[in-house]
Symmetry: C2
Subunit: 202 residues, 2 copies
Amino acid sequence: MTEAETKPARRSIGATRNPASQEAILQAAEAVLLENGLSGFSIEAVARRARAGKPTIYRWWPSQAALLLDVYHCRKKVDFNFPDKGNVRDDLRAYLKGLLATWQGTSGAIFRCVVAKAQGEPEAFAALSAYMAERRLQSRRLVEKAQERGEVRADVRPELVTEMLSSFAWGRLLTERLDISDEEVDAVIDTVLAGIVPRPAG
Amino acid sequence: MTEAETKPARRSIGATRNPASQEAILQAAEAVLLENGLSGFSIEAVARRARAGKPTIYRWWPSQAALLLDVYHCRKKVDFNFPDKGNVRDDLRAYLKGLLATWQGTSGAIFRCVVAKAQGEPEAFAALSAYMAERRLQSRRLVEKAQERGEVRADVRPELVTEMLSSFAWGRLLTERLDISDEEVDAVIDTVLAGIVPRPAG
């Protein structure tokens, strides 16, 4: 079970006993997903394609959901970066629009699947929880930076604000209502920024 | 395997050919759920308990998720009513706290299960979508009433506001973070009501 990696290129093509690298397995997982769809995705198919043993895969990813989440994360990184536009309105708008847009493709299908699995499988839940905890730390920076610039009140809890936006996007993803107008996005951002009560006169 | 139940009370007791009423099936479904848990829940078990044919059940509920959602809705009605406290802050706070509290029990487990199933089964998705569309119409009334009282600006989209709160609760349910402090609830409500940008002087 020791791994004598003698890897060239980006994918291991060695004999079956030559364990594939993490990177090769991730690439194989993505290829299996794109070819077979989510319903045809299995650790077995990934192992076959990566020419890796299933135990090797399970050593790094304790569940199918954990592997799917890593594929998701790699794909998402390509399309989605935390915005840094210098003002809080544009940053939050770009953050929300970015989530909604990214999830309209394969990334959204993968993430829905992981969220669904997490409701029944403890390993999937653990993988999703760890991922989300990290994402919350990253996304709260959007609001913290705005606080440093004086654009957002110091008493505001940064994490709660971005959680409100990402939860809204989750809700849209899970009910297949991602395709929303710019006006709706702006209404959500306006609510978070300025609230819904009447503006003081003057 | 036949259950010679000679039960009086609130449940239909006809012979197997005597189709059980919807109400009896719902009660049987709830009983099966409480006894066997979600993993032991099946249309078959419900049919046995209600002494109904499976086709009878499927005529009314095209999927297990649809039946679960009805059980959920019946249970939730007991604990959860749309608040009407005469002011928008208390109404929205009670709405959000009500969702978070209701979901800490069995209702939450059922709803999570339905949301998860909806990500893979078209019938479950249809049932959830229909349910949510109706709920959105009901919950938006909270904001509309506040607009009628002049507490909320007329240009605000009522549905979007309650969706932001319910999505936040969905996110907490699906990541098992329902147990939140009153301060956090207030921070969410404050954000929706008054926003996060600095308050105008004076």
